[in-house]
């Protein structure tokens, strides 16, 4: 820094960097950081969002702890996290492997597989709504056509089924994203490693476990964090597809927050749910990042 001391303050690198970052930081602070304490502040009030606020202390928090729907929503969120991690990542890797290996249709398939990710959540929601339609829907019509009447389900209306129907659509939406992520990482693995393995007589299966997966691991952990955080705060497709219904069977924390705030006009309680959602999501992803980054370190050590 000494060499730069002769520069006026506004020419120093730190200042320049800050100035370049300032516009982005300003909006980040305004729309991401500031609402967090503000939401907590609102959670102490009874407020319909339009009229007067009245202070009620921790009443909303007391209610939240005793609110069975909130716990159900949290449980649904956890289910979504687990299933997303267990299906989206392996499917993403499998498709990425398929499309990076050179066979005839890869170019076409690449485009086809990425399509769901390019669509807006609302369009996907409407699409799956028509697929799951109980009487005229594509799925039940198909099952009828092949004569499997016993497989016909009330996909979005049966409280035992709806969550899984919705998660299926969520998977359909996000698998292409992980596929793209893994494809980018796979391209970076040097081919010599595979050639060497081949000469050493390793089977493709063995090569996958000893070369591909370890070198892919940093991407896998990153993808897992993305999937975890995304699943915890997930909202849009559920909102369009099932609205969290019927009777909260597919409710997530985010859709529940939305309902309490904008349907029941209880902004205070909605804010309480929002802060709880943020706290849980933040804590879980911190723990997750800690655990996976340590693993990565150990892995590096062994090599």
């Amino acid at each position: 820094m000494k060499a730069l001391d002769h520069l006026p303050w506004y020419r120093r690198p730190g200042v320049t960097i800050f100035l370049f970052l300032a516009p982005a930081l300003f909006f980040f602070a305004l729309y991401v950081l500031a609402p967090i304490p503000v939401s907590f502040f609102y959670s102490l009030f009874k407020w319909d969002g339009i009229g007067q606020r009245s202070f009620i202390g921790l009443e909303n928090w007391k209610e939240l702890i005793g609110d069975p729907v909130f716990w159900k929503a949290l449980k649904n969120n956890v289910t979504l996290v687990v299933i997303s991690l267990a299906t989206q990542l392996p499917m993403g890797i499998a498709l990425a492997l398929l499309l990076t290996s050179r066979f005839r249709w890869t170019k076409l398939l690449k485009t086809v597989y990425v399509l769901p990710y390019m669509m807006s959540a609302v369009a996907i929601g409407m699409l799956w709504r028509y697929i799951y339609e109980p009487t005229f829907g594509l799925l039940n019509m198909f099952l009828e056509a092949i004569g499997r009447y016993d497989w016909i389900l009330d996909w979005l209306g049966d409280p035992k089924v709806v969550l899984y129907s919705v998660i299926n659509a969520v998977n359909w939406q996000f698998i292409p994203f992980y596929m793209l992520l893994f494809m980018a990482a796979l391209v970076g693995i040097p081919l010599e490693l595979y050639e060497a393995a081949k000469i050493d007589g390793a089977s493709p299966w063995k090569a996958f476990w000893t070369i591909t997966l370890p070198l892919l691991w940093p991407t896998v952990t990153n993808a897992a964090v993305l999937s975890l955080v995304g699943s915890l705060k997930y909202f849009d497709l559920i909102h369009v597809l099932s609205g969290g219904g019927p009777n909260h069977a597919s409710e997530l924390m985010a859709t529940y927050m939305y309902k309490r705030s904008f349907h029941h006009l209880r902004m205070g309680y909605g804010s309480t749910i929002a802060v709880a959602l943020f706290t849980i999501g933040f804590a879980l992803s911190m723990v997750f990042v800690r655990v996976t980054s340590r693993k990565q370190y150990e892995g590096g050590d062994r090599r």
Partner: protein, 429 residues
């Protein structure tokens, strides 16, 4: 390449900005409503806009259509953000009162009198958007009652008679189910659709007083009273006897998933607001010949008169925002929405306007005549629960009713949940 694109973008946005500046001389009024489907109300509103803009070329009305259930949320957010439209639609009752209490809605009583519009509207229809005799909204679209529409051809083929009592209804349902026809076309993802059954059952069991007392918290009225519990039991009996189509809890009324069953001969009856007549006319006019209606059957030993109706005397109410800068023009526009021409258009499209003179004589279609007689001849019209209750309680009613339909709550539990919410809301605990 990128630089060039950025340049073009800059130039275009500059041009856009300038053109906006030119038009800024004009008066702009924003108008929000829910009529996304081509039909009576949409035609009438757009025609009124055209006529108004022709007479006042300096005023432009910016019409925004938002689908029904999204609309309620969007309006609420706009109100909270002080970004409400100049003219907006509501259903009167509890939700509108929330906005009135927050000082968001303009008291248009004097302006209506001045413009000579005040006496144009049916007084009973005005009540729903009035507080202490001051008018905050005018009824525009329709006099509505929930009625059971039914397929006359299916009833004839199966030798069925119109059920006048609950047990007759169960008989009719049995025959229909034996013939693989769903008794009622219901799409209950929207919740207010299923609420109609519940409201009728409560009325038939306990009369209109049951709800009135519970809502007003007078005379020991309670949402956990016998009428509500019994209604829940009847409702679940209907569900258990396959009154409703497969998957009805997830079906969406706004996507016509209920009416599709009616159109494809898969369902025979359809309990819906009488606006359905206009909707079906727009969607599937030939079917009207095979369609008639009856009033929801009574219950043996119940207190409610079987001619009582559930509905609203005005349906859509149009209000002017307090912060609207050109209230004079907004009121004038409401005049166009409720003049002779608008009334004629509504009638021609199957609606019964709650304004204008000699509506009775103007209606020539025999079916609409009987609709009109049913609506205007009833002793008691129960306003939709979700519009008469404050929004917070309305949602609890809708949620518990949907749970009743899903057999996920007992009638007793649902009634208690509703009563607890009411107690909490009114601070009775």
């Amino acid at each position: 390449m990128l630089k060039k694109a950025t340049m073009y973008l800059l130039v275009i946005s500059l041009l856009l900005g300038m053109s906006l500046g030119v038009f800024a001389q004009e008066i702009n009024l924003t108008l929000w409503h829910i009529h996304t489907n081509v039909g009576a109300a949409q035609n009438t509103i757009q025609d009124a806009i055209r006529r108004f803009e022709a007479d006042y070329p300096n005023v432009k009305i910016e019409e925004v259509q938002i689908i029904n259930d999204e609309y309620k949320t969007k309006l609420m957010i706009a109100m909270g953000a002080n970004d409400e439209p100049d003219i907006f639609m509501s259903w009167g009752g509890g939700p509108l009162e929330t906005y009135i209490n927050a000082g968001k809605v303009w008291d248009m009583t004097d302006a209506l009198v001045k413009e000579g519009l005040y006496d144009n509207f049916l007084p009973v229809a005005m009540d729903l958007a009035s507080v202490n005799g001051r008018v905050y909204g005018v009824p525009i679209t329709n006099m509505v009652a929930a009625l059971v529409f039914y397929r006359t051809d299916i009833f004839e083929n199966l030798n069925l008679n119109i059920p006048t009592t609950y047990s007759e209804l169960l008989e009719v349902m049995k025959v229909l189910n034996e013939n693989n026809i769903t008794p009622f076309a219901l799409a209950n993802a929207n919740k207010w659709t299923g609420s109609m059954y519940f409201m009728y059952l409560v009325d038939r069991v306990g009369g209109p007083e049951a709800f009135y007392k519970a809502m007003m918290r007078t005379d020991g009225g309670s949402f956990a009273s016998e009428a509500f519990v019994k209604a829940g039991e009847y409702l679940q009996e209907l569900v258990r006897n396959n009154a409703f189509p497969r998957g009805f809890q997830s079906m969406d009324e706004d996507l016509a998933q209920s009416r599709n069953l009616l159109y494809t001969d898969r369902a025979a009856m359809y309990l819906m607001g009488s606006w359905a007549w206009g909707t079906i006319k727009a969607e599937n006019e030939p079917l009207l010949e095979k369609l008639d209606f009856f009033v929801f059957p009574g219950i043996e030993g119940g207190l409610g008169d079987p001619s009582n109706l559930v509905g609203t005397p005005g349906d859509n109410y149009f209000s002017i925002a307090e912060k609207c800068e050109h209230k004079d023009y907004a009121v004038k526009f409401l005049g166009y929405l409720s003049d002779e021409k608008a009334a004629d258009m509504l009638i021609a499209n199957g609606h019964i306007p709650p304004f204008g003179e000699n509506i009775d004589a103007k209606i020539t279609d025999p079916m609409m005549k009987s609709l009109y007689q049913a609506v205007s001849g009833s002793d008691a019209v129960q306003l939709w629960y979700d519009q008469s209750l404050p929004p917070e309680l309305a949602q609890v009613h809708l949620d518990t009713t949907q749970a009743l339909f899903g057999l996920e709550m007992t009638p007793e539990e649902a009634a208690q949940t509703m009563e607890q919410a009411a107690k909490r809301y009114h601070g009775e605990n």
